[in-house]
Structure formats: C-alpha cells, structure tokens
C-alpha cells in the first residue's frame, strides 16, 4: 500500500540575505531539522533566487550528484575540469562530483534575478571520476506526459547521474488525469508542483507543494488547473 509524505510549500525553510533567497525542503547548511533530512537518495531540494550578478564563489564538492535547473534567467558555471558554461532556463546541468571538483556558480544576468532548483542525490558509488553535463531540455517531450531528462544512463534526451535515479517533467495544458510508473522497484517518487494544482490520492497540491510517494509501483493523479508543470524525482529509498 502506498505511503505518502506531504511537504507543503510554506513548510520549506526560507532564508534570505542581500544576494540569495532560498527555500530549502531538506536540511542544508545552517538549517537542521531531523524530520527533514532526505527522501531516500534525494538529499537536497533547494529553490534558490540569486540577485543579479551574485552567486556562489569557488568551492568544492565530492561524492554527490548535483543537478541545477534554472527556472528563470541563467547561471554561469566554471569548474577546475575546464568547463565554463552558461545554463539558461530550458537547459539543465549535472555535476557528478565523485572524487572532487571545485566550481563557482553565479547569476549570469547582470540586471535580473535568476531562480533555479538545486537538487542533490546521493551517488551509488564513491569517488568516481567527476563529470559535467549540460543538456538542452526537449520541451515537446514533456507535453501532457512525463518524460525523463535525468537517468542512470545518458541518451539524446537525458543526462546521466551516478545513481538509479530519474527525474521527469510533465507540462500539462488542460485538466486531465495522469499516471506515473515508478522506474524501479524500491524507488520512491518525489512529486513537486512547479506550477498549477494537482491531486494525488486525495492529496491536494498547489505550486510549491510536494508529495513523496513510496511502496508502490505506480500512482495516478489529476491536473486541476488549466496549466501545470510537475517535476518527479524517482530515487532509491535505500542506497
């Protein structure tokens, strides 16, 4: 029988300063809540807004899969692997940080804010060779259905992470029902409403709300708003 974890939009930890406005679903940095540590292998789900030209200076990472999804604006990424990329809304970047990487991440916009999702997933193996990927999202693939853009192996439409994890997006343009098949036995699905209103097994979700679903191979729901964008992170619950 399916189990649910409901994370209301306003239950996220909200902190801001003169350069960063951040809503954190799970404990991160100075925010510590033992009840909000992770959803299986999904460890970080931050909704960040960077002021124009501001960002994170050079700092290290290792042994974490880090996915950045700009929602508005663009980021400029530089790392010690030699990558220097601008990542704009409609694109994503993935860092498999493995045995270690240093990078910086700034808002590339000089007069506007950039909003992006910063998502960290525990890797299935330690100390792998670091890798950077930038991917243009194929928006057509997400129309009125869920389609993966993150997967354990890369193809033309997906970037790879070092974990049995998938991320899928669905962009719906009418009220309708939907179904989602969990990608692998033992995985759970973390459903985040980027925009719109939906219902899953009696749970009403609006923009910014999330529902973690475990112990099932599939679930169905209903789009209740004329438009909706739904992000599903499908991760092992034990790893």
């Amino acid at each position: 029988m399916a189990k649910y974890i409901y994370h209301k939009e306003d239950s996220r930890h909200h902190e801001y300063n003169d350069w960063l406005d951040s809503k954190k679903t799970f404990s991160f940095a100075d925010y510590y809540n033992p009840k909000r540590m992770n959803f299986g292998a999904l460890r970080v789900f931050n909704d960040d807004i960077l002021q124009a030209g501001k960002g994170f200076g050079r700092h290290p990472h290792d042994n974490m899969e880090i996915i950045s999804i700009p929602l508005d604006g663009s980021l400029i990424h530089k790392d010690n692997l030699g990558n220097e990329q601008v990542v704009t809304a409609g694109e994503i970047q993935v860092m498999s940080t493995g045995s270690g990487v240093f990078h910086s991440e700034y808002n590339h916009e000089q007069t506007a804010k950039t909003r992006f999702l910063q998502i960290w997933i525990y890797p299935s193996a330690l100390n792998v060779t670091p890798k950077y990927t930038k991917l243009q999202l194929n928006k057509d693939a997400f129309q009125n259905q869920f389609s993966a853009f993150i997967a354990p192996t890369a193809d033309v439409h997906t970037a790879a992470v070092q974990q049995k994890a998938w991320m899928s997006l669905g962009i719906f343009n009418s009220t309708r029902e939907f179904e989602y098949q969990v990608k692998q036995s033992g995985n759970g699905a973390y459903v985040y409403v980027m925009n719109g209103s939906i219902e899953i097994d009696g749970h009403q979700l609006s923009t910014g709300d999330a529902l973690g679903i475990t112990d099932t191979n599939a679930f169905s729901g209903k789009i209740n708003s004329p438009e909706a964008e739904i992000l599903v992170t499908d991760v092992p619950m034990t790893f």
Binding site: S27, Y32, M37, V44, H61, D62, M64, S99
Partner: protein
Amino acid sequence: MTDKLSLHLLAIGYHPEIMQVLHRLMNSHSGWHGTIALSLEEGLQQLTEYPYDGVLLGVGVTPEDEAIIRAAIEKQELFTRIIRHYGGGSGLLENEVRAEFENLQQQ
C-alpha cells in the same frame, strides 16, 4: 545543539585542497576542533594518538578503507563515531555532525 558541544573531529580524505577547505570549515564552527589526515595511514596514526569524538570519512576514502578504520576504532575500544561526509563543502557538514551527536545525546 552541537554549538554547545565541544567536539574533536578527525577528517580523513585524500584530496588535499578539498581537505583544507574541510579543515577550515570544521574549525570555524563554534565548539568544534578539527584535524585532517590526508592518507589512511595518517588517519590510523591520529586515532592512536587522540580519542576523537568523531571521524569524518571524506573524499577518496573507500568502503574498504572505512572497514579498516572501523576495525581500528573497535580494536582500541574507542567511542569515536564514524560519519560519512558527502558533498565536499559546507552544505551537509553541520547536518551530518549534528545528526550523529544529537542522536547520541538523546539515547
């Protein structure tokens, strides 16, 4: 709250530049006293010289290395907690340490 705890932490990892950052982060935290070891041998040696409260296993430390460290701690009958540090920077460090030691306080 670990702010109120005095913790002596040993971080073992094999990427010198990342470990320098970890060293700085540990010692900038109120109440924490951090030492780093850049090799398994150095880490094992440190464990014989000081009864650390916790060992952070950082970049490069393999599951096999972890087993050796765990065995050394058990052999010396130390109460040192072993914590796998992920992410390499400040994002998860405080969370990982607090989760370990605040759980311990509640037991």
